[in-house]
């Protein structure tokens, strides 16, 4: 049982630990005066944003109607396809071809998620009707 517990927590914990380790790494970065960073790169504020956004997300999503959990998943899916922003920059910048190609594939994947995610969410939501709305049809 104990072994299972340790194994089970592995993946999420590792991922969590990696993200949680960022502040520590950021601190180390600050301590060692900038050898690389040409422009100030504000690690702390990013970690803050992540923390606060997670709390806001939890607060907002807890109130989502249980009826709508499937559409919720498809809309958050479309929203997290915001990776499109990174993909556009990688695809469109003056980078070597292979790198831009990876960006283009990522852009295609994100765009697919945006298009299908929003469309199917709306399609599902249109189906949710009250008694009166259902009778009118």
């Amino acid at each position: 049982m104990a072994r299972r517990l340790i194994t089970g927590l592995g993946a999420p914990l590792l991922a969590g630990a990696m993200l949680m380790a960022l502040p520590a790494v950021a601190a180390a970065q600050e301590a060692a005066p900038a050898t690389h960073a040409e422009q100030p790169f504000d690690y702390w504020s990013m970690v803050f944003v992540f923390l606060l956004a997670t709390f806001i997300g939890i607060g907002v999503i807890r109130r989502v109607s249980r009826l709508l959990h499937t559409p919720l998943m498809s809309i958050t899916n479309a929203i997290s396809a915001i990776a499109v922003v990174g993909s556009i920059i990688v695809t469109g910048s003056d980078y070597p071809k292979e790198i831009r190609l990876m960006g283009a594939v990522a852009l295609f994947a994100s765009m697919t998620n945006i298009v299908s995610g929003f469309l199917i969410t709306d399609r599902m939501l249109k189906m949710f009707k009250t008694k009166r709305e259902a009778d009118q049809q």
């Binding site: 299972r4 340790i6 194994t7 089970g8 592995g10 993946a11 991922a15 990696m18 993200l19 960022l22 790494v25 970065q29 790169f41 944003v49 992540f50 956004a53 997670t54 806001i56 907002v60 999503i61 249980r66 009826l67 559409p71 919720l72 998943m73 498809s74 809309i75 958050t76 479309a78 929203i79 997290s80 396809a81 915001i82 990776a83 922003v85 990174g86 993909s87 469109g92 910048s93 790198i99 990876m102 960006g103 283009a104 852009l107 295609f108 994947a109 697919t112 998620n113 945006i114 298009v115 469309l119 199917i120 969410t121 399609r123 939501l125 249109k126 189906m127 949710f128 009707k129 009250t130």
Partner: protein, 469 residues
């Protein structure tokens, strides 16, 4: 100048995303949420595209067109296939994050590695680990849900599975750590693909031991990972919009996972590494227990006499595509002045909220879809409970049998109704081979056959007798 415009647009987009999710709190306002989300996405794309660093446009346009070409058909799948589509989109999300992380690493490596600070490297390693494991894990989940032939549906388990998985993850993490410390080493560009390969493999191995009934939880967890990989991308690219949007997705997946786990009285650990399917021979059909079959005519008669009917749908309803017939039955009963409600268990189906969407598709008003905790107190007053393709979620064994794999799982109290009709395809035990005590209760009668056909016959019977009143 463009910089400020871009940042301002990103802030507006962030606010719109939060509103999009806020409006999902009620079906009445939910569609507004979609418009808000689309507006935010449009703003973000335009603001990014107009930045001066973006100088090549051909491939961008091409990729966007390709996204539409694939995305539109994907949004038109039948609603029974929504779980697969969702899993597939998590895979796409993971892939995008993984690829951007990979591209950025090689780009910065090629530029001499000055940009590869330990902070960035940590974020890149987290991004590719999460991204690629989400990619293959979600593909596996989608394959299992779609019942693709060469992907085993049943949980695949073997000795030392957990040890192997954790070992693999540790190796990947160790190499990742080495990369963080030596990002510009000559060997680094060769070790990077190794981490990718291990993450891809880990994704497959993570989902292989998971069975159908655990899919709602697994999909939710993968949803969370897809969000977290977007967060990691935000750290890599120093982009706060990515961080916020990714965090919203990540927390949504987290909350859904918790709800799913609670609804099954299991922990994350147990779902991911417990291999539910193994405890199969826990209970065999005890001798002396027999099913009591009932005829369509008999059931129709009892239904007609009822004041209050509760229908308990499960995955079987989705498989048989019976939701439209269920709607006809609902209409027939309503016409007779009978109160009809649907009892929705959080894990019924293959993803969170699956049953609600199917019933809404069949034009059943959402006001009649009732959550488990709200309907259970009313079950003793219910005259007929009609179980349509649900099994474990109505099994009373969960209340008292400590040896049962579903012990402690909250259930819908169908057994407290005055009469129970259960529609079941065959006499075989259901998922995980657990006998359902409900079927042998004094009050329960069985209607054997395909859910769609049985309900269709019930409707026919009720239509024929409709005049006699």
């Amino acid at each position: 100048m463009t910089g400020s415009v871009v940042q301002l647009t990103y802030i507006v987009a962030t606010a719109l995303f939060v509103f999009a999710l806020h409006w999902m709190n009620h079906p009445k306002t939910a569609r507004r949420g979609v418009f808000s989300g689309v507006a935010a996405m449009l703003l973000a794309v335009v603001a990014t595209w107009i930045q001066p660093v973006v100088v090549h446009h051909g491939w961008i346009i091409l990729a966007i067109i390709a996204g539409f070409v694939v995305g539109v058909p994907l949004s038109l799948v039948p609603l029974t296939a929504v779980p697969q589509r969702t899993a597939l989109s998590h895979a796409f999300g993971g892939l995008a994050a993984g690829l951007v992380g990979t591209a950025k690493y090689y780009l910065w490596y090629g530029e001499g590695g000055g940009e590869l600070s330990p902070f960035r490297m940590t974020a890149i390693v987290a991004e590719i680990l999460l991204g690629y494991l989400t990619f293959t894990g979600s593909l596996m989940a989608a394959g299992k849900l779609q019942e693709v032939k060469w992907i085993p549906q049943r949980p695949v388990t073997y000795r030392g599975q957990n040890v192997m998985n954790i070992g693999l993850l540790l190796v990947a993490a160790a190499i990742g750590l080495w990369l963080i410390i030596n990002p510009t080493d000559v060997l680094a560009p060769k070790m990077f693909p190794v981490v990718i390969g291990l993450a891809l493999l880990f994704g497959v191995l993570l989902v292989i031991p998971i069975g159908g009934a655990d899919m709602p939880t697994v999909i939710s967890i993968l949803n969370s990972y897809a969000g977290l990989s977007a967060v990691a991308m935000g750290f890599v690219l120093d982009n706060k919009l990515l961080i916020t949007a990714g965090a919203l997705d990540g927390s949504s997946g987290l909350i859904l996972s918790i709800i799913m786990c609670r609804a099954m009285n299991r922990s994350f650990t147990n779902v991911l590494f417990g291999a539910f399917g193994q405890v199969q021979q826990a209970k065999q059909l005890e001798p002396g227990k027999v099913y009591k079959p009932e005829t369509i005519e008999g059931a129709a008669q009892v239904l007609e006499q009822a004041n209050q009917v509760v229908i308990v749908p499960g995955y079987g309803m989705a498989v048989a595509q019976a939701q439209h017939k269920v709607r006809e039955l609902y209409d027939q009963l309503k016409k007779r002045g009978i109160t009809v409600k649907f009892a929705i268990h959080p894990v019924a189906g293959r993803m969170p909220g699956h049953m609600n969407v199917l019933l809404a598709e069949a034009d059943i008003p959402y006001t009649d879809l009732v959550e488990m905790s709200d309907i259970n107190p009313d079950m003793p007053q219910c005259d007929v409970a009609l179980v349509v393709g649900a099994n474990d979620v109505v099994n009373p064994v969960a209340r008292y049998d400590k040896t049962s794999p579903i012990y402690g799982m909250p259930i819908i109290d169908a057994d407290k109704a005055k009469t129970v009709y259960a529609i079941k395809r065959s006499t075989r035990p259901g998922f995980a081979g657990i006998d359902n005590e409900l079927y042998f209760s004094d009050r329960t009668w069985m209607l054997f056959g395909d859910a769609k056909k049985v309900i269709g016959d019930l409707v026919k019977q009720l239509t024929d007798t409709g005049g006699i009143h």
